[in-house]
């Protein structure tokens, strides 16, 4: 039985921080490229949802029987974040949703465990990376997510890439660390980690290639990731793979997305790989993990709904001060309005298809669409004659909109639109990833899963609209 990757997708948030702008703000010079920045209303859970939606959309026949979520920057501790992803994706209750928490190794660990395991597993990885202002982690880091559907080859669910084998090397040394609750990671001086990682990476790759029965000279794509930039560069330069095999690690556009990075770069590599290409993914974190895959004929027919490269290209600038405010490194004056109260757990539980899944209802007799779902129809008054209507993938058109400069928002002003959905249904909703000045009636909108606010440590997740952009493949 061939096992491997059934689908994969990366998610790169809309905003970009220019490294030059950071340097200029802090009174120094230099800096090249950008890093991706999650919206103020995004966290690792919402980004994982977005990546998973894209991955599942490209493989509609693949039904995950497990969801694994990995991050170093979870929205909750104790409470399982994967359960929120599970609800947003409307997975069946029988599908377990598990968090792989804490370390930068958790993403590659979840992926390699899924590849070495059984069944169909949706692996979602997301990270928010930053540090103190002016630090290397702030500018080199990036926010992003990736989702990989791992399973067995089958009719209707062809593998995009077969898993040929992998290897791990584990070692105990304190190179990069962060105490729970701390914002800033600390690192040991670089040379020690570089020597260790170089040795561990070579060892893992060598054993992985052996396990896969592949010669290094046949590797067509090499993905090397890890937060230790010198070690990553050193390993990439010393593995005996053909020239040109090294895959762009997105460091100059997206930045290092921590635990999410190997899956994100792998997704990007798959999107451009021809059939029969051998891909090696190696991630350096407290050891090294190496995976060897080979793309199949199916990769040629695969149409990723929103390629990573297109998302990277579609980014829009974010001023550094706003980045600092979004990361709570700068505390701007909040709107002088009452802050939101915490969400009621039983109310959210009852409404979970609506709140997390954006499922409305359609009256069977009149066809009228109700958002949120209703029991009594607004047309004809039929009672309890509705069918559930999933709307999270529906697209719509702005009928009218406004900008509310008074309402509470973590990042005012609130941009709000009345959206008419294709195929019926209207909902007044908040827009995000939007440049208010460029808005217009008639503009096209898609739905995105976001965190509206938090109160008492409870995050209020719901859906917002975001403009469909042809530049990121959004109008496909």
């Amino acid at each position: 039985m061939m096992r491997g990757i059934l689908s994969a997708a990366g998610y790169v948030p809309y905003r970009r921080l220019s490294r030059q702008a950071v340097a200029a703000f802090l009174g120094s010079s230099g800096g090249t490229g950008t890093r991706a920045v999650a919206g103020y209303d995004e966290d690792t859970t919402t980004m994982a949802v977005e990546a998973a939606r894209l991955a599942l959309r490209a493989a509609p026949a693949a039904a995950p029987d497990a969801l694994w979520f990995a991050t170093t920057t979870p929205a909750y501790l104790d409470k399982t974040n994967a359960a929120t992803v599970h609800a947003a994706l409307r997975l069946r209750s029988e599908v377990p949703a598990l968090d792989f928490g804490g370390s930068l190794r958790s993403g590659i660990g979840a992926l390699s465990s899924a590849l070495g395991g059984s069944g169909t597993t949706l692996v979602a990885v997301a990270d928010l990376r930053d540090g103190l202002p002016g630090g290397q982690d702030e500018t080199a880091g990036g926010d992003g997510a990736a989702a990989v559907v791992v399973g067995d080859d089958g009719p209707g669910t062809p593998l995009l890439a077969e898993y040929l084998g992998g290897a791990s090397a584990t070692d105990e040394f304190v190179d990069r660390w962060r105490a729970p609750g701390e914002r800033r990671s600390k690192v040991w001086e670089e040379r020690f980690g570089e020597t260790r990682y170089l040795a561990l990476g070579r060892d893992a790759v060598e054993r992985a290639l052996k396990a896969a029965g592949v010669d290094a000279r046949d590797v067509g794509g090499l993905v090397v990731t890890g937060m230790h930039a010198r070690a990553v560069a050193a390993l990439a330069g010393r593995l005996p793979v053909p020239a040109g095999a090294l895959v762009d690690d997105l460091g100059s556009s997206v930045g290092q997305t921590g635990a999410a990075h190997p899956a994100l770069v792998l997704s990007a590599a798959l999107e451009v790989a021809p059939p029969g290409r051998v891909l090696v993914v190696v991630h350096l974190a407290d050891g090294a993990d190496a995976l060897v895959l080979r793309t199949t004929e199916a990769v040629a027919r695969w149409a990723p709904p929103r390629p990573v490269a297109a998302q990277v290209a579609a980014g829009a600038d974010l001023p550094y001060a706003r980045f600092l405010a979004w990361r709570q490194m700068l505390e701007p004056e909040p709107p002088r309005r009452p802050e939101p109260t915490r969400v009621s757990t039983p109310a959210a539980w009852r409404a979970q298809d609506w709140k997390f899944g954006f499922v409305g209802s359609r009256d069977r007799s009149s066809g009228a669409v109700h958002l949120p779902p209703a029991r009594v129809s607004m047309r004809g008054g039929a009672v309890d004659d509705m069918e559930p209507l999933p709307m999270s993938d529906a697209r719509g058109t702005i009928a009218t909109y406004t900008i509310d400069r008074l309402a509470y928002s973590p990042s005012p002003p609130v941009v709000f639109a009345v959206v008419d959905f294709d195929g019926g249904g209207r909902f007044p909703l908040e827009l995000t990833d939007v440049d208010a000045e460029a808005l217009s009636v008639g503009q096209r909108v898609e739905m995105t899963f976001r965190r509206l606010s938090s109160a008492d440590g409870i995050h209020n997740y719901f859906w917002k609209g975001r403009p469909l952009r042809s530049t990121d493949g959004g109008d496909r």
Partner: protein, 396 residues
Amino acid sequence: MASHGIRDRVAIVGMGCTPFGEHWGKSLDDLLVDATTEALASAGLAKDDVDAYWLGTAQSGMSGITLARPLQLQGKPVTRVENYCTTGSEALRAAAYAVASGAYDIAMAVGAEKVKDSGYQGLNAFPVPGDGTARSLTAAAMFSMVVPAYARKYGVEEDTLVEVLAAISAKNHFNGARNPRAQFRREVSRESICASPRVAGRLGVFDCAGVADGAAAAVVVRAEDALRYTDRPLYLKALAFATGSGSGLIDPEYDYTHFPECEAAAADAYAQAGITDPRRQLAMAEVHDCFTPTELVLMEDLGFAERGQAWKEVLAGTFSLGGELPVNPDGGLKSFGHPVGASGLRMFFECWLQLRGEATPERQITTDRTLALTHNLGGYPGEMVSFVSVVGTELG
């Protein structure tokens, strides 16, 4: 099934209204005592003469005890009512029906709100525990969506419409400047209104009603008893109420250029009162100008102007103090202020003064028409409650 109304069966025989404004030195109890004392005095009654009380307050207190305690009412039936910004009108409607039914001889409707103690500008609703998916937009933002919708539907430039809205605001400030009880007693030019800081969409600060503390009260009796208490009672010709289902928010048919709940309440009120041509039959109208586009659309919903024509009528001065049909001669919510639970009764108070010739001379309307209208709404475009009443000085 029908809405019969209680035309000419109940009369207002006494009213009181505090000045509206920032009453830092007055509590809700003070406002309630002030308004009810004035209303009782104007009817020549004592508090124990009143058989039943209805208190309208949106969120300044709960239960009838909120009124019974400061007035020290002993064992009277006192009920608190709430229905968004129509709360004050609802108190009057309940009191009027109680008298019309024969259950009581004399009833009082009181409306009051202590808004300025909240520490926040604007109005802020009670937080009800929920799933977190409800809109958290301000009312200003919801009503601001009328502007582009109206402009597009009727082919008016948005910039022209913004000037029309400024004219509405300027008119209400002009009227409020002539009203000693109003919150804002200052004329404001159209230019300053247009230049005011933006709040939502095209709406600026001067497009929004003032938020104030205040209270108002009315004593109602059966019409045949009215002349015992005053020689110039106001007879209730119509009390109409319409509650929307909220479907406007999710119905693609709704276009944000009219308020169906207000049209329905107006149609019912005109049927009850026998009004066929409101623009020519009414001496004046008090309407719910929470935001300037609201007043614009109401001129059409209430039948004062043809669809798509209200903006021209506004510019022509039709609804100004000396115009064909003065609207909000007391300054409206814009200038008089909007203590939520009191506003509906404040509208009756202006009719009471105007139809009895007791308004301050600089804003007194001179007309031989004997009918006046009040319109009070709560909620937002698409999700609204609406009240319309007609009062008159003549029976029949």
